[in-house]
């Protein structure tokens, strides 16, 4: 598998660490209700098909990425910087 890191270019997946579901919503730190925290920590999207997921370019630029990858074929259709993706989500009120 190869991931096109926006900084480093097309690199082998062995340079990256996986970070799981990128659509789970991390509650605001001030959130005191355990429910959203439980959902965030334990419940993940696990689709057969396109999956938005975090990858960390550990042996490269050390940026966290949001990769869209099909879990049935391993084909990657999109890669974005996690920082940008998360900012966009936060400015849209937590949901995309």
């Amino acid at each position: 598998m190869r991931i096109a890191c926006p900084y480093c270019g097309l690199r082998d997946s062995s340079e990256f660490n996986y970070g799981g579901d990128a659509e789970r919503i991390r509650p605001d730190l001030s959130e005191t209700d355990p429910e959203p925290w439980l959902a965030y920590v334990y419940e993940r999207n696990n689709p057969r098909g396109p999956h938005r997921e975090f990858w960390h370019h550990l042996h490269g630029c050390r940026q966290w990425l949001v990769v869209t990858r099909d879990t049935a074929t391993h084909e990657i259709s999109d890669v974005a910087m996690a920082r940008d993706a998360m900012r966009a989500r936060q400015s849209s009120g937590g949901r995309e």
């Binding site: 190869r2 730190l29 355990p34 965030y40 975090f54 960390h56 940026q63 391993h74 998360m86 900012r87």
Partner: protein, 1002 residues
Amino acid sequence: MSGQSNRLAAGGRIDRVRQVGFRFDGKAYQGYAGDTLASALLANGVKLVGRSFKYHRPRGMLSAGVEEPTGLVTVRSGGRQEPNVPAPMAELYDGLVSRSQNAWPSPSFDILAINNLFKPFLSAGFYYKTFMGPTRKSWMLFEPFIRKAAGLGVAATAPDPDRYEKVNAFTDVLVIGSGPAGLSAALAAGRAGARVILAEQMPGLGGALLDEPAGNPSDLWLKAVVAELESLPNVRLMPRTTVFGQFDGGTFGLVERVADHKAEPDSHEPRQRYIVLRASRVVIAAGAIERPIPFGNNDRPGVMLAGAVRSYLNRYAVIAGRKAVVFTSNDSAYRAAFDLKAAGAQVTVVDARPLDAAAIKRIESKGVQVHAGHAVAEAVGGKAVSGAVVAPFDIATGRCTGGFTRLACDLIAVSGGWDPQLHLATHKGGARPAWNETLHCLVPAGEGAIEHHAGAMRGSFGSAAAVAQGFAAGTEAAQKAGATGSSGSAPISDDLPSGELGQGFAAVFDVPPPHGLREQKRFIDLQNDVSASDVKLAHLEGYVSVEHLKRYTTLGMATEQGKTSNVIALAQMAKLRGLDIPQVGTTGWRPPYTPVALATLAGHETDNHVKPVRRTPFHAWNEKAGCVFLDTGLWKRAWYFPQGSEDVNAAYRRETKAVRETVGVVDVSTLGKIDVQGPDAAEFLNRVYVNGWKNLEVGKARYGIMLREDGFIFDDGTTSRLAEDHYFLTTTTAEAAKVMSHLEWLLQTAWPDLKVHVTSVTDQWGGVAVAGPNARKLLADCVADIDMSNDAFPFMGVRVGSGHGSVPLRIHRISFSGELAYEVFTPSGYGSALMDLLMAKGKAHGLVLYGVEALGALRIEKGHVAGNEIDGRTTLEDLGLAKMASTKKPYVGSVLRNRPAMQSEDRQRLVGLRPVDRKARIRPGMILQPHGGPHQGHGLGHVTSTTYSPQLGHSIALGLCKGGMSNEGQVIDAVFPLQGDVVPVEIVSPHFFDHEGKRLHG
């Protein structure tokens, strides 16, 4: 050459000038350079090369390639001994030593051939039905015998002396196969300017063209195309290279057999090279493999694939038989028949198809007899074929229709059609292959995203079509890979072989015996001894899905993975079930295409290179001081510094005592170190640690604890504030990498607006702890510009300065040992300079070196928790650290740590333990159980860390125990049932020594 009775006087593609000597089963033979072991054995008249897996039946060569199921031998010896080598794939070299397998004492007289008599009992799945009684563990009695009888060759017994290499490579177009299709594809892509790698598993380029008689006009075509390819700098031709797998993202696994054709690799060479190739496009032109036809005793040495017979004849000038019966269901076998005839053999063709008169005339005009509408029903002979039983055959019913006759022969050449090599095209899943009703074979259902298919692998069995398809595929592949040059025109030529009879393909997947002929085994998977009767039995018992059939009978599970057997079994099962072949389904192929040596995939990362070694900046220095190292993750940590004949126990007790009495220095460089900078750094730390960080002054350090998102303890460490916006964060050795990733994760995904940057500086800074009553005096002698006095540099203070000799220093006054102590960090390059300085000044202060064993003893005496306690399952409450957690702010894990079960008083919590009998030893790994028993189940908890305390003069321990310190003073038992040890222990405070902490403030 004497002995090479089956070698023709002329012809072939061998080098007759270079004679090569080799051995098989102890006997010396001669062959030529360019031979394979198989061709050389056949040249010498050796047809019987081993015994089969289950029935120990005599077996010879079936094929001339990677599909070889039976001609498996062990080659070389000692550390280079290699079992299960297909003889057709072993290139001959002078001095090659080979042995038969699965035969004792020899293939021609094999004791276990007695199994053949029991074959009715050894039917598919028989072991599932028996070996069960009389006891519950009966299988254990039978298994050793079965295991010994099974298996093929014997693995090497000495270490492999050869080297292996791994290479990463990139290309625009990968071409797999060098037949007419592959060569044309490479030519088209190469001319267009694409970077091309062409991989060919055999030693020579040309694929099926090399099966043509040497000197055939097709040699001219081949020579011209290869010459042009060699002239293109962007094309790399790689013979002896197998593409064994297709993986995601255009990744391919290749094995280049660099030196297997030599006695041993040259000094600069690896034996094999593992290449991870990333290609934009791939042209799969892997050809096709001939399919046999099952008939009675079709496993006898001398029953061979027709194409292989032709291959031995035209590549190696070896005639596999002088009196041949060629049994076929398609036109291709006639090439073998005609070439055999031309080489002087007597040839009779048995063709299952009814042939038209013109075809028969054409065949007979070549001096070849033909029985159209007939089949070979049985091979006659024991250790070699001596005849063929032939009967009229009806293709529609798949049955023999009349009386049989016997033809004398010493070779039966078979062709049941051709199976395209779909292996690599199915590795990535996708559409299952489709059944072609005309060709009676599976063809690709479509091309994968980056794939182009050409030639026989997609069912185009003629050379001209292969060239056209290959060229078109290569052109398109190059374009899609971004090449812009012109491919010119395809190298179509009249020199290419042609001349089919035009009689089409017939489907013959089984020849049951004609009436009156006793039924014999009709083998499908010749290596695993799976026959038509096994398929029938599987059907009878309901193992009818393809996967059940394979698994129940072991069909297709052999070293060649069913290359010559899968389709036949599929067809037989379809017939038994009354279904069409596509309805039965097919199973996909799994990598590797052909077996790959494990050493090759391991590459150079082996033995002591299996994982990298991490050394601290003080490593060399420690080594010189006689240090014994301890593996901790990838690190080599200083464990202890023995003096004289000291073992670890003696050494750490001495080292511990010295730290308590004078001063010691220990290498703590393996701690994770993270540089945290930015205007929001304080806010960031405040969020990741459970305790508060906003009020930490510049020049001060603080101990902090991080939780995981789920509220359990993640890590701890000391972090100092070097400037308003600059912190130096330390982590434990074990969790350093994870903490770093976690911090980056939070900054980039949770709080992208915080202005903070984190950088791992673990390898950039070395660190030592200087601990003991004389620590201040020692450091005062070492530093140039730091006031070390207690007032100027109080506990938890941080100072930046330098030591004598301009050694840059970052000093934290913190203590893990409980003594007056400092952690002194210096840039890695100054490691030796710092140690030299400390040692030079240390003599006067009684300085000793200590290691992590003593460090552990010191921290246990103080009740400081470490990795044994922070084990990923403990909470702040468990370790008595809850009071550190701020109630004024949220932090990572602050909500979920309050889940009910995590706050339960029932949990096991940190305690100190000391033996009631002070001479007794609390051992690591002990379990805490009620005093006096019963000792059963998980008990009260467990011992986490133990040491002998030189200060107290007895064994002490930390543990996790139900009820924690509320049971202080109680006696419980620490037990070690593995060795029958029970030690009554008293629950005491985990702070065994200097409870008030006077020493560290001293």
